[in-house]
């Protein structure tokens, strides 16, 4: 099981992806093929939001974005210079609890994806997302 899949399982998030800022998905868990473009898009939106304010406020670098919807909570957390975790929690998710799980898993996620993003696990799932075929070519 990949680090991301473990995070999703332990945190109770609905789905999550690790993606680069250019939209390349490095790993995914709980994600349907139809979500593969939507979730990485969240990273670019978050980045845009962050850069907008960063430019004027001198508040340091962007560390994370939380987008709360009526029926869910989307978080975008920086794992490396160009790598982000994007995760979706369902209705009734507690921000504090989600934050707790993210903070707890962050060192492992950064180790797994933030430092050497192109060589890490989850490739089978990425292939599944891109081709729509199950891992192993089934």
């Amino acid at each position: 099981m990949s680090t991301l899949a473990e995070f999703v399982q332990e945190s109770g998030m609905l789905k999550a992806v690790v993606a680069r800022t250019d939209g390349t998905v490095l790993d995914a868990a709980g994600v349907r093929p139809g979500d593969r473009e939507v979730l990485p898009r969240a990273a670019s939106i978050a980045l845009r939001l962050g850069k907008v304010v960063e430019q004027y406020e001198g508040m340091g670098t962007l560390s994370g974005v939380w987008i709360q919807y009526e029926e869910g909570l989307l978080l975008v957390q920086e794992l490396g210079e160009e790598v982000f975790l994007i995760a979706l929690a369902g209705l009734g998710a507690s921000v504090g609890m989600v934050r707790y799980h993210v903070n707890r898993a962050l060192p492992d996620l950064v180790r797994a994806y933030g430092e050497a993003p192109q060589e890490q696990g989850g490739q089978d799932e990425v292939a599944f997302l891109e081709t729509g075929e199950a891992p192993g070519g089934a």
Binding site: I45, E54, Y56, E57, M59, E70, L74
Partner: protein, 117 residues
């Protein structure tokens, strides 16, 4: 606008934020309180404009309407929340920001802000 400024000040005090702005969807600032470094007009305009993408993203994710966007930085946080169809709240908090308190304060003062619009 006095009532709006009063409500904004109450929110800022409760949230212990540096400043708060109410901006129209057209990007024009309606009211502001506190001290926010930089170009206030630009921050308000860009923040209100930046809500469009998260709104459409929520529809695609099937997560319902947008409630709040919280952007965290090394030295602070910015909260953007739609108040009505026409107006958006932008709140800037410093390094010592208590996210829980900001969210609580917003929940508590949102009705007051909306009724002052």
């Amino acid at each position: 606008m006095e009532a709006l400024e009063k409500a904004l000040n109450a929110l800022r005090d409760a949230a212990e934020a540096k400043g708060a702005i109410v901006v129209g969807k057209d990007g024009l600032t309606l009211s502001q309180v506190g001290v926010i470094d930089g170009d206030i007009e630009s921050i308000g305009a860009l923040a209100s404009n930046s809500l469009r993408s998260p709104q459409s993203l929520g529809e695609q994710l099937g997560s319902g309407g947008l409630v709040q966007v919280l952007v965290q930085f090394e030295k602070g946080a910015v909260v953007v929340e739609p108040l009505t169809e026409e107006y958006v709240l932008v709140m800037v908090a410093g390094e010592e920001a208590n996210i829980g308190m900001i969210r609580y304060a917003l929940k508590k003062h949102k009705v007051e802000l909306i009724s002052a619009l």
